[in-house]
Symmetry: C2
Subunit: 436 residues, 2 copies
C-alpha cells in the first residue's frame, strides 16, 4: 500500500513533511575502503588497477588488455541486431540534435569608457564516463553522457566499464562507438575513478568524470572532486505525476511503475484532484504488479515510498510539486502548458497525455541524467555546459583605466590591499605624465 | 628567492612538474568539529547558533538581534565616506551590467515529427552568501556574490557575516544594500552554514550557499552540499603573467605582488621570453617588498611559491600556462589577442599593458570568484548560472509518439525495463486502435 494523503484532511502537513523528509537511501559507508583503493592506484598505477580488477571483477588483465581493442569492439558491435541498432541510432541522433542547441555563445563588447569585456567558452580537454557493469549497464546512459561531451568539443573521451567475469553488453560498446568515444577500459569501481583522475602509465588522466555508479564509485567521485570535475552524485530516481480524472488509470500506473522498477528506493507520487481517480490508479498499479517482470523491486518501491495525494485543485498540485522539486514531472492534464508555468522546480517536465516519462529516458532528446533528492531546487540535468568552462576577458585602454582605475584603487585601499592599489596607481601615474 | 626555471635548461620538466604539484594549502582537519556543530544547529536551532556565536565571536545575541535591523544598517552605511560610496556604486553598476549579459535564453521548438522540445531557466528561490568577518571581510566579494544572484532573479538573498566582538565593516553593509540583499545575519562559521542550509525558527533555509570562508566554513559547505547547492571551494589565489621585454618591470612586479599579498599560500608566476626582463622583475619585486604594508605575507608567498620561467617564445609560454590553468592570466605582450587564442585554460584573462588584474577584482565587471588550484581546466568563475537551474521540456503529439515511441520501447526492452516499455506500448496500442 502506498501512502494516501489528502490536502483537505487533518494532519496533511505533517504527513507531507514526513514524505518529503523520508530517507530513501542508506548508502553503506565505504569511504575508508575507497580512500585505500585510491591511494593504491596513485602509488602503484596499472599494477594496482590490474590486481583490483582481478579481485573484484574476477578478470585477469594486462596493460595491453586494459582497454578493448578496435577489433574487439567491432566484433561486439556486430552482435547487435538490426532493430536495436536502429533504435540506438535514432536515440543518438535525437540526443545530439537537442544538445547541439545548448551550445552557449561567446561574447565581446566595448563599454562606454572603451573597456573591452566579454567571455569565451571552451571544452574540457578530456572526459571520462563511468558506465556500471552488470544489470544496470545501460546503453542509453552512455549516449546521455558521451554525446553532450562530444557536442561540447571534448577532444578525448574515455569510458570505464567493468566487465565482471569478462561479460560485456554489446549495446554499451555500440553506444560508445555511436557517441564518438575514443577508448573503453574494462575496469570499474573506485579503482577506475582513481585511474581516470590521476592517470597511470597506461591510462591518461582526464579533467572531468561523469556517470552513475554504486556506493564505491560515488564515494570515489566525491574524493577526486577538485583534482577533476565531477557531475552530480545521483540518488534513486523519482517521478511525480499530476493527473486529472481524464486519464487512463493504467497509463498513469505504468508511468509510476516505470520509475518504481528502477530501484527499491525509487519514489513514484501521483497528485490528483480526483480521489476516485487516485484509487483507480492505485488499483491499476496493483494489477500490473501481479505480472511485471521486476515486480519485486517495483512493488517494494511503491509500497515503501509511493504516494497518492488528493488535492483541491491543480494550483495546489503545482505548489506541492514545487515543494517536492521532482526529478521527473509529468503533467497529464487538459492544459499542461498552463500548469507547467506554475511548476518552478523540476528536473524535466513531460507535457500532456502522449509524453510518458520513458520517452525522455531514451529518444526524446533531453538528457536523462537529472537532479534527484529535491536538488532540482538548485541544480540542472546534465548538458553540454558540464563539459564546457568559461574564461572571462577584460581589456582596458588607457582612457578606460583612467575612468575606472581610481575607483579600483580606492576600494583596494579600503580593503587594505596596497599592492592591488599600487598596480593601478603606477599606470595612472604614467598616464598623468602623458605616457600612455 | 622565487623559483627560477628555464625551458631550455636541463631538468626543466621535473622542476615545472614540481611547481605544478606543489601543495600550497594544508587545511586543518576540522571535519569532526564541523559535523558536531551542524548536528547541534539541526537539533537545537537558534539556541545553538546563539551559544556558538557567544563562544566563537564573543558576541551575545538573541533571536531578535541575530539579524541587523534596518536602522542599524542605515546607521552603519551612513559612516561610509563619499569617495568610498561612489567607488562602490561604480563597481556595483559595472558588475551588474556585465552579469546581465550572462542571462541565458529559454528555448522551445518543434522537430520534424511534431515533438515539442525545449528548456527553460529559473532562479533558485533563496540564496545565502557567506562573508568572512575581520580582515578578509571584503565589500567587493559581497558585490561579486550578491549581484549575480539578484540578476538571476533570486527572490530572497541573505548574508551571514560574523562580527567578532560586535565589529562590523560598514562597507560590507553598504555593499549588501547596493546589491539588494534582504537580511544580514551577524553569525559565522559552520553554525552559519548549518543555519542557512537547514533553517532555524528565526532563519529560513536557503537553496544555495556561496562565498569564501575559513577551513570550518569550507568543511561545512562540503557537508551541506546536496541539501543545498554550493559554489566552488576556493583555494589560495594565483596569477600567471606572460610578459615580453617591452614592459615596465615595476608594473609587472606590482601585478605579481597583488596576488602574493592576499595570502602566504598565494602563487605568482611570471613567464617571459627574456631572461634579463625576468631578472629585472624579480629585482623590482624585491624593492617593492621593502616597503609594502603586507610585505610579510607577500614576501613569504613570493619566496615559497613565486616563480620566474624563461621560455623560448610566446607559444611555449601559452603551453605552460595551459598546464597551469591559472585563476588569473595577464597577457602583457604586443598582441595579447593572438596570445589569448592560444591560452585555453584560465579563469580570467587580462589583456594588454593597461589591464592590471586588480581592475578585475573590483570594477572591471567580470566576477572575481574564479577557479583555483588548476580547476580552470574544468570549471568557471561565479556567474548568474550559479543561481539558475534549467528544466527540460518535452511534449509529444500522438504522431510524434508513433514515430519515436517504438525505438524507446525497443531500448527499454533491451535494458530489461518492462514498465518503461509498457508505458509507451499502452499509448501506441491506443493509437493503433485509432484512439488518439
Amino acid at each position: 500500500m502506498p501512502h494516501f494523503l489528502n490536502t483537505s484532511a487533518d494532519g496533511f502537513e505533517a504527513a507531507f513533511a514526513a514524505l518529503l523528509s523520508m530517507k530513501r537511501e542508506d548508502a553503506p559507508d565505504v569511504d575508508a575502503a575507497v580512500a585505500n583503493i585510491i591511494a593504491d592506484v596513485r602509488a602503484r598505477g596499472d599494477q594496482a588497477v590490474i590486481e583490483l580488477t582481478a579481485k573484484f571483477d574476477r578478470l585477469n588483465l594486462t596493460t595491453e588488455t586494459l582497454a578493448f581493442s578496435e577489433a574487439e569492439i567491432e566484433a561486439e558491435c556486430a552482435k547487435v541486431g538490426a532493430e536495436d541498432r536502429v533504435a540506438l541510432e535514432m536515440a543518438a541522433e535525437r540526443i545530439r540534435a537537442y544538445h547541439e542547441r545548448q551550445m552557449p555563445s561567446d561574447a565581446r563588447w566595448t563599454d562606454a569608457f572603451g573597456a573591452e569585456l566579454g567571455w569565451r567558452w571552451g571544452p574540457v580537454s578530456a572526459a571520462g564516463l563511468y558506465v556500471p557493469g552488470g544489470l544496470a549497464s545501460y546503453p542509453s546512459s552512455v549516449l546521455m553522457n558521451a554525446i553532450p561531451a562530444k557536442v561540447a568539443g571534448v577532444e578525448r573521451l574515455v569510458i570505464a566499464c567493468p566487465t565482471p567475469g569478462g561479460a560485456v553488453n554489446p549495446l554499451v560498446l555500440l553506444a560508445a562507438r555511436l557517441s564518438g568515444v575514443d577508448t573503453v577500459y574494462r575496469i570499474g569501481g573506485a579503482q577506475a575513478i582513481a585511474a581516470m583522475a590521476y592517470g597511470t602509465a597506461t591510462i591518461r588522466p582526464v579533467d572531468k568524470i561523469t556517470g552513475p555508479g554504486n556506493a564505491y564509485v560515488a564515494a570515489a567521485k566525491r574524493r577526486v572532486f577538485g583534482r577533476v570535475g565531477i557531475d552530480m552524485i545521483a540518488g534513486p530516481s523519482e517521478i511525480l505525476v499530476i493527473a486529472d480524472r481524464d486519464n487512463d488509470p493504467d497509463w498513469i500506473a505504468l508511468d509510476l511503475l516505470s520509475q518504481a522498477e528502477h530501484d527499491e528506493s525509487a519514489q513514484s507520487i501521483l497528485v490528483t484532484d480526483d480521489a476516485d481517480f487516485g484509487q483507480a490508479v492505485a488499483a491499476a498499479v496493483d494489477k500490473r504488479l501481479e505480472t511485471l517482470e521486476r515486480r519485486a523491486i517495483a512493488g517494494a518501491s511503491w509500497r515503501d515510498y509511493g504516494a497518492v495525494i488528493v488535492v483541491r485543485d491543480l494550483a495546489e498540485a503545482a505548489d506541492l510539486s514545487n515543494r517536492v522539486a521532482p526529478e521527473h514531472l509529468e503533467l497529464c492534464v487538459a492544459d499542461p502548458e498552463a500548469l507547467s508555468a506554475l511548476t518552478i522546480h523540476a528536473g524535466a517536465i513531460f507535457l500532456g497525455h502522449w509524453t510518458p516519462e520513458a520517452i525522455g529516458d531514451y529518444v526524446g532528446g533531453p538528457n536523462h541524467v537529472l537532479p534527484t533528492a529535491r536538488s532540482a531546487r538548485f541544480s540542472s540535468g546534465l548538458s553540454v555546459m558540464d563539459f564546457l568552462k568559461r574564461t572571462t576577458l577584460a581589456r582596458m585602454t588607457p582612457a578606460a583605466l583612467a575612468a575606472i582605475g581610481p575607483a579600483a584603487e580606492r576600494l583596494a585601499v579600503s580593503e587594505s590591499l596596497e599592492a592591488h592599489g599600487l598596480s593601478v596607481r603606477a599606470r595612472l601615474d604614467r598616464l598623468n605624465e602623458g605616457g600612455a
